[in-house]
Amino acid sequence: MNDKKADNGVNVEALLGAREALRDAPEGAKFTWRASCKWISGTHSRSTVHGFFGLGKEQKHRTEFTFEADHPEVFSSDDNGATPVELVLAGLASCLTAGIASVAQHRGIQLRAVTATLEGGMDIQGILGIDEDVRTGFDGIKVTYEIDGDASKDDIKALVAQSQKRSSVFDIITNPTNVTVEVV
């Protein structure tokens, strides 16, 4: 740990304590994250998250959170919310940004402003089934960070690199994941 006083509002001691505790009790490290989603109408749906499992028992967020998703008007939809792929970008941005704050705290780097801009390129010929050779998902994601903090440019770059290394959403997006969808 760095001696420099930095306060990014991240409780690093608690995180390090958890790391030490869970190393000896790996069962507690097994989490299950959940979301549920209800169709509203058209392409509009509402997802909610509340409960999750971790540290050996059921847990709850402080309150239920909801996320509206829809398609934009150019897709002849009502645009009642973000498109699902934008929510993916938001998830990646939030995950990386949380990581940057945590790593900065651990390294004693005071942050003043962190702004991420994300772009995911997509050729919708894939979604529309026009061209089988075109991928349905993003053909790439570009994340640009502007960071104001008490550190050299290389140290800031190292924060961002380390955050990617430890980011779940980065891992989820960059590596294959088995997905099982059932109808009950």
């Binding site: 790439g140 770059k157 190292a158 690199a161 990617q164």
Partner: protein, 410 residues
């Protein structure tokens, strides 16, 4: 048969320990499954040379005699060096004696071998960290028409079938094999995960000279932030050659080696690779520059004037969109080489000292079982622990501890 201590393994680490025990008048024997320097004789590829320069090839009471201290030993030279060391120190080696089990009893340890059993009060595990090649998860799903091999079986490109080669792993081994196989006229794809980049020569001196001078190689396990992480750092991308050449991803790309992300598995008939290539290269570049900064600061502090100028190397060039999968039916790949590291074999160890990941529980080589010691693992006691010259200091420290243990329990 009965003796105070038994050393398992007659490589450089076991022999260094033997010498230190002899200096402390501790009667002992060194059990070796094959011959002295067995792994060097039977598990290395033909062109391999040490990554450390000759001046670093020293063991307690013995240094390598050579014309050029900056040169790198070939495998026959390493074998000769270790064999001569065994002779010079008159190490009590029992060759062709394979250990089949090590058990605790009231008297210490009972060691069963293919040539009888030994009873001892202390035991030193020095059989090496590279007994079993790691193969990544998902490897079993590769179609059977592909040839697969590990660095232990690889000797030279002539043993490979014609056709493209996927080398998985970008540490020292992976880069060297990618280079050699590509030079044999085969197309090579290199799957790159986290790695450690460093130039062979910096400011006119070998990078290991700087790391030695600046005290980095002597850093001990209790001086680093996170020893678990330090022990898992992959081997640096170095090669020993006459030209003292740097081997890095940029050099391989320039030759025509194609870079892809970390091997992520096989889906259907496709090998998949992670989309994290940019980041693992960025991490390695940043880390290399931190090392070079440390060197530069050390030069300033010590007022060295007769060294080359400060230099920064080109960032790793990564293709804008490296492929995320390769169709295995396309014929682009004929052979897969797993250069994804190794782990020790403890299948013969019947003492409950393994953690849930199968690693030995120890504090800097003092194993969590009285009288048992460990040698030769990465960052065991110091950053240099897995280097040949690192065995000396570790053997001195651990043999002192071992002597104290024997005295206290006599």
């Amino acid at each position: 048969m009965r003796t105070s201590a038994v050393i398992l393994g007659a490589g450089h680490a076991g022999l260094a320990m033997s010498r230190c025990l002899a200096e402390r008048s501790i009667d002992h024997v060194v059990l070796e499954r094959g011959e002295v320097a067995n792994s060097w004789k039977t598990e290395r590829w033909d062109s391999l040379r040490l990554l450390t320069p000759n001046w670093q090839s020293r063991l307690p009471g013995y240094a390598y005699e050579c014309d050029d201290p900056d040169d790198f030993m070939t495998m026959p030279e390493v074998i000769g060096f270790i064999e001569r060391y065994a002779q010079v120190i008159s190490a009590p080696v029992e060759t062709h004696t394979k250990v089949t089990s090590v058990r605790c009893n009231d008297d210490g340890y009972e060691i069963e071998t293919t040539r009888g059993s030994w009873q001892c009060r202390a035991v030193v595990l020095a059989a090496g960290a590279c007994n079993i090649p790691n193969v990544p998860r998902g490897a079993e799903a590769l179609p059977s028409f592909l040839e697969t091999l590990t660095p232990m079986r690889y000797r030279n490109p002539a043993q490979l079938p014609e056709g493209g080669v996927l080398v998985v792993g970008a540490s020292s081994t992976g880069l060297q094999l990618a280079h050699e196989v590509h030079s044999s006229g085969r197309s090579v794809i290199l799957a790159v995960g986290e790695h450690v980049r460093m130039p062979r020569v910096y400011r006119d001196k070998d990078i290991l000279w700087w790391m030695d001078a600046a005290g980095l190689l002597d850093m001990t396990w209790d001086e680093v932030d996170d020893i678990r992480r330090a022990r898992n750092v992959p081997s640096p991308q170095l090669i020993g050659s006459d030209e003292r050449a740097t081997l890095d991803l940029n050099g391989l790309s320039k030759m025509g080696v194609k870079l892809v992300g970390r091997f992520a598995g096989v889906h259907g008939r496709k090998a998949q690779f992670s989309g994290s290539l940019h980041n693992v290269c960025a991490l390695a570049d940043l880390k290399m520059n931190r090392l070079l900064n440390t060197v530069d600061e050390w030069v300033l502090e010590h007022d060295l004037s007769a060294v080359g100028p400060v230099e920064r190397f080109e960032s790793t060039r990564v293709p804008a969109s490296p492929p995320l999968d390769i169709d295995l039916d396309s014929g682009e790949i004929r052979t897969v080489i797993w250069a994804t590291g190794f782990h020790p074999d403890y299948s013969w160890l019947d003492v409950p000292v393994l953690d849930r990941k199968g690693r030995i529980r120890h504090e800097a080589g003092v194993v969590d079982s009285p009288g048992m010691y460990l040698m030769g693992l990465s960052f065991l006691r110091r950053r240099k622990s897995s280097f040949i010259h690192g065995a000396g200091d570790d053997a001195r420290d651990l043999s002192d501890h071992l002597l104290g243990y024997l005295d206290a329990t006599r």
